[in-house]
C-alpha cells in the first residue's frame, strides 16, 4: 500500500542530500576538533566554516550559534541555567509551550522561582494577560513562535516589544523549532535573546540542533570539555551539523517557492473539506496568523486515536496528539483546552502537517479519505435506535 506522510511537524523525511553530506563529512572530518594534530585541526577548521554557514543561513553572527542535540536540549540549557541565579525571580511561559519548556515549571518552583503561565485565547497567547504578568521581578520570558499542534503563529514580536518597554532588561527565549521552513524567519527582527532549533524538523538528521544566543554567556546543562564555548561540552557532532546545514540551506533558499506551494496545498485541502461540515478546520488559513503546513481539524464525535488508526490503515499518517512524547494524549488534550477548544473538539481532533514533498494528489486523497472515514465511523458508532 502506498503511504502518504502527513506528520511533518513530528519529524520530516531525511533529505537525500543531507544524508549524502553526512556520509561525506563523517568520512573526511572524523578527527576530534579539540586535538592538536593536523587531522583534528582540519576538523576544527571545518566546524568553524559550518558555524559560519549556519549563521549566514539564519542571518546572525557565528558567535551566536551553539550546536546542541536538538530542540529539547536547547530549551533545557536555557531553563537549567536559571538554577544558577542568586535571586529567584519570576518566569513567564505560555500555556501553549512544548513539554520541554512547560515541564520545567515544577523544577523551577521547587527552586523558589515563581512561574507564570500566559493564558491562550483561540490558539494565541493573550497579550493583555502577558503584559499584566510582566514586572520588575521578571527574569525570563519563554514563548514559542509556531504552536506545534495548532500551527498558530504567536505574536512574538509584539510580546517582545512589551518586554522591552519594561524598565529592567528581561531575557527572552523563543522556541522556534516549528518555524523553520514554515514561515519567513528573521531572528534580529524578532529581537529575542535566545532561540531553539531542531534539525529533524527541516529534513536534517536527528540528534542535532542549534541554540541561538544573542550575547553574553549562560550556564551549561552538562559538565565536561570546553566545546561550544563551554556551553555544550562533548565532542562535536560534525557530520550531523554539516548535514543539518545542507538541509537548512535547501530550506532557506527555497523558502519563498515552498511557502507558495504549501499555501496552495492548504487551500486545496480546505476547499475539498468545505462541502463537508462535520469536519472543521480549527484555524482556517490566514497568512501571518497560521502556518500553511500545519492544519488542526476537529472530527467530532470520533476519538482522535480511533480516527488516526483507521487513517493509518488506509495509508495516511496523521497525528492524534503531540507525537514527541509517546501517548501524550493527556498533555496535548490540556493544551487544546487551554487554547479555547471545547472538550468535545479536544477529544476529537487531528493534526495534519505536510511539506514541500507532499503532492497535490496526496492532499486531495487525504481530504477525500477524511470525509469517507468520518462518514464510515460516524455511521458505525451512531444510528442509535432506542427501542426500550
Amino acid at each position: 500500500m502506498k503511504r502518504s506522510y502527513f506528520d511533518w511537524a513530528a519529524t520530516t523525511y531525511l533529505a537525500r542530500e543531507a544524508l549524502e553530506r553526512y556520509n561525506e563529512v563523517a568520512t573526511l572530518y572524523w578527527a576530534n576538533p579539540s586535538a592538536v594534530h593536523a587531522d583534528g585541526k582540519q576538523a576544527a577548521l571545518f566546524l568553524q566554516e559550518q558555524r559560519e554557514l549556519s549563521a549566514q543561513l539564519l542571518d546572525v553572527d557565528s558567535k551566536q550559534i551553539f550546536y546542541t542535540s536538538g530542540g529539547t536540549e536547547s530549551n533545557s540549557i536555557i531553563f537549567n541555567s536559571l538554577l544558577w541565579k542568586r535571586t529567584q525571580g519570576e518566569i513567564i511561559i505560555s500555556s501553549l509551550e512544548h513539554a520541554s519548556v512547560s515541564q520545567y515549571t515544577r523544577l523551577l518552583e521547587h527552586h523558589g522561582f515563581t512561574v507564570h503561565v500566559v493564558k491562550a485565547k483561540d490558539g494565541y497567547i493573550d497579550l493583555q494577560h502577558f503584559e499584566s504578568l510582566l514586572n520588575e521581578n521578571t527574569q525570563l520570558v519563554s514563548l514559542m513562535l509556531v504552536q506545534n499542534v495548532l500551527g498558530t503563529i504567536q505574536p512574538i514580536k509584539e510580546a517582545v516589544q512589551l518586554v522591552r518597554s519594561q524598565s529592567k532588561p528581561i531575557f527572552v527565549h523563543c522556541d522556534a523549532v516549528q518555524a523553520v521552513g514554515k514561515m519567513p524567519l528573521q531572528l534580529e527582527n524578532l529581537d529575542v535573546d535566545a532561540a531553539s532549533f531542531s534539525s529533524h524538523k527541516f529534513e536534517g538528521v536527528r540528534g542535532v540542533g542549534i541554540l541561538y544566543l544573542k550575547k553574553g554567556s549562560i550556564e551549561a546543562l552538562s559538565r565536561g570539555g570546553n566545546q561550544e564555548g563551554g556551553l555544550r561540552p562533548g565532542t562535536e557532532n560534525i557530520a550531523s551539523i554539516a548535514a543539518m546545514n545542507t538541509a537548512l540551506s535547501r530550506t532557506v533558499h527555497s523558502l519563498e517557492s515552498d511557502l507558495i506551494f504549501l499555501k496552495e496545498l492548504r487551500e486545496i485541502f480546505e476547499q475539498e473539506l468545505k462541502s463537508y461540515s462535520p469536519i472543521k478546520v480549527i484555524h482556517p488559513y490566514k497568512e501571518r496568523d497560521v502556518v500553511a503546513s500545519i492544519i488542526h481539524i476537529s472530527v467530532v464525535p470520533i476519538p482522535s486515536e480511533v480516527f488516526a488508526r483507521v487513517l493509518s490503515d488506509k495509508g495516511f499518517d496523521v497525528s492524534s496528539g503531540s507525537a514527541c512524547s509517546h501517548n501524550s494524549t493527556a498533555s496535548s488534550h490540556s493544551l487544546l483546552l487551554a487554547s479555547g477548544l471545547s472538550k468535545k473538539e479536544a477529544h476529537s481532533s487531528l493534526r495534519i502537517s505536510f511539506g514541500h514533498r507532499t503532492t497535490v494528489d496526496e492532499i486531495k486523497a487525504l481530504a477525500h479519505t477524511l470525509i469517507e472515514t468520518h462518514q464510515q465511523l460516524h455511521l458505525a458508532i451512531g444510528g442509535r435506535t432506542r427501542g426500550h
Binding site: P303, V306, T329, H347, I381, R384, T385, G387, H388
Partner: protein, 388 residues
C-alpha cells in the same frame, strides 16, 4: 552424571489424604517441564521431594523453575552423605565454608530431624556434635539457639541431607491439580492478579481477551499478550484467545439503551467466554471483579452478569481493596505493564451514567431482545489463538 541436589518442601500437599499421590505427581510434572532441557531425577520421601539436576543447569534456570511453581513452600540446595557420623561431620564442615552459610554471620545453630529412628544418635546429640565441629573450624562464630543468624539443617532419612539456606516458594497447590478455567483477561491491574490467585489453588487456565480494533489499539492487545507472558510461568504456560469484538460492540452501542451498555457488554463477554470455556474443557470462569469497584461490579450488576453463566464464576478479588491488589500485582511483576496507557475500552462505549443497580430480570430481557447469538458465534469463529 554430576548433579546438583535440591530439596523441595511441599506444604499443603503433605496434608492431603488419599489424593496426595495425584498432587505430588502433578507437582513433579510441573517442575520437570520447567527444568527442561536439563536432565533431572525425582525421589520422594515423606513431606519432601528431592531432585537431582544435571550439573550444567544454570542456577538462574533452576531458581526460576522452582520460584514460579505452585505447590512448593520452600526449597534448598542440599548435600547428601551416608549415615555415618564421620561423613556427616565432613559434609557439615564443607557446607560451613560455603558462602551461603558463612557470609555475614556471627551466630548459628544446627537443627536435626531424625526421620530414621534407627540412627544411633538422637537429634540433639547430632546437632551438638556438628555444632562443636563447626565452632572448632570457625572459632569466630558462636552458637545461638534462639535467634541464630544461620541454621544448618540436618535430615536423617534413607541418607543424610544437609542444607543451610532455604528459599521461600509460592505455596499453594500445583497448577492443573484443580482442573482448568477460562480467565477473562483485560489489560488492567486486576485480572492478572485474579489469575495468579486461582493458579495458586491449582487451576490451569486459558485466557480470553476482547479486542475492538480500531476502537482499541493494537498496542492494547500487545499489552495483554505481554501480561499473559508474565503470567505464563506461574500457569505452566498460557493460551490466549483474542476475540474480535468490534462488530458486537458496535451493534450493542447502536441497539442497547445507553445506560445499559456497559452491563450488556459484560453480559455478552461472559456468554462468549462461557461458550469458549466449554469448547476448551474449562470448568469455571475467572474474572478480576472486586465488589463495587466500578458500576458493573456492584452486587446488583454482578447478579446480572452472573446470571449469564452456568459455570461457576470465580472472583478471587471480590473482597479486596485496590491497594492489596496492587501489592500482589507488583509482587508477580504485572503492575508495570498493567499501568501502560493503552486503554482496553474506547470512551465511545462507556456511557456517562451507567446503571449501577440493575434489575436482573429486566436486564436479562433487554439483553436477550438484542439477539446477539449470531454475532457472538461469528466472533467465536474468528478467534485468534496465541500460545505463550
Amino acid at each position: 552424571m554430576d548433579t546438583k541436589l535440591y530439596l523441595i518442601k511441599q506444604g499443603e500437599i503433605a496434608l492431603k489424604g488419599q489424593n496426595r499421590n495425584l498432587f505430588e505427581k502433578q507437582l513433579k510434572d510441573n517442575i520437570k517441564s520447567k527444568l527442561r532441557p536439563y536432565h533431572n531425577v525425582f525421589s520422594r520421601q515423606k513431606g519432601r521431594m528431592f531432585i537431582e539436576i544435571d550439573q550444567s543447569a544454570p542456577l538462574s534456570h533452576i531458581k526460576h523453575a522452582l520460584s514460579t511453581t505452585f505447590g512448593i513452600v520452600g526449597y534448598s540446595q542440599a548435600l547428601r552423605c551416608s549415615k555415618n557420623m564421620d561423613d556427616i561431620t565432613q559434609v557439615a564442615l564443607t557446607l560451613s565454608h560455603q558462602s551461603e552459610f558463612i557470609d555475614g554471620i556471627s551466630t548459628f545453630k544446627v537443627e536435626t530431624v531424625r526421620a530414621d529412628k534407627g540412627f544411633p544418635l538422637t537429634s540433639y546429640e547430632i546437632s551438638a556434635h556438628l555444632g562443636a565441629a563447626i565452632l572448632q573450624e570457625h572459632p569466630q562464630l558462636k552458637v545461638n539457639v534462639r535467634t541464630p543468624d544461620r541454621i544448618l539443617y540436618v535430615e536423617v532419612r534413607d541418607k543424610v541431607y544437609l542444607y543451610s539456606s532455604q528459599t521461600k516458594g509460592l505455596g499453594g497447590l500445583p497448577v492443573s491439580s484443580a482442573g482448568k478455567a477460562m480467565l477473562m483477561l483485560s489489560g488492567g491491574i486486576d485480572s492478572p492478579v485474579a489469575s495468579y490467585m486461582m493458579a495458586k489453588r491449582g487451576l490451569k487456565q486459558e485466557a480470553i481477551y476482547f479486542h475492538a480494533y480500531p476502537y482499541t489499539s493494537d498496542e492494547a492487545k500487545e499489552k495483554v499478550l505481554s501480561l499473559a507472558k508474565i503470567l505464563s510461568p506461574y500457569l505452566q504456560g498460557l493460551t490466549v484467545h483474542v476475540v474480535p469484538f468490534t462488530e458486537c460492540q458496535l451493534y450493542m452501542k447502536a441497539h442497547a439503551p445507553e445506560e445499559q451498555q456497559t452491563l450488556i457488554m459484560r453480559a455478552a463477554m461472559v456468554q462468549l467466554s462461557e461458550k469458549l470455556a466449554m469448547q476448551r474443557g474449562c470448568k469455571a470462569l475467572i474474572t478480576g471483579e472486586a465488589l463495587s469497584q466500578v458500576a458493573s461490579q456492584t452486587i446488583e450488576s454482578l447478579n446480572f452478569t452472573n446470571s449469564m453463566a452456568s459455570l461457576t464464576v470465580l472472583r478471587p478479588l471480590v473482597g479486596m481493596d485496590k491497594v492489596e491488589i496492587i501489592d500482589i500485582a507488583r509482587q508477580i511483576g504485572t503492575y508495570e505493564t498493567s499501568i501502560l496507557p493503552y486503554e482496553d475500552c474506547c470512551t465511545i462505549f462507556s456511557p456517562k451514567h451507567p446503571l449501577v443497580k440493575p434489575d436482573v430480570e429486566f436486564m436479562r430481557e433487554s439483553y436477550f431482545s438484542l439477539n446477539l447469538e449470531a454475532l457472538i458465534d461469528k466472533a467465536l469463529q474468528e478467534v485468534e489463538t496465541v500460545f505463550l
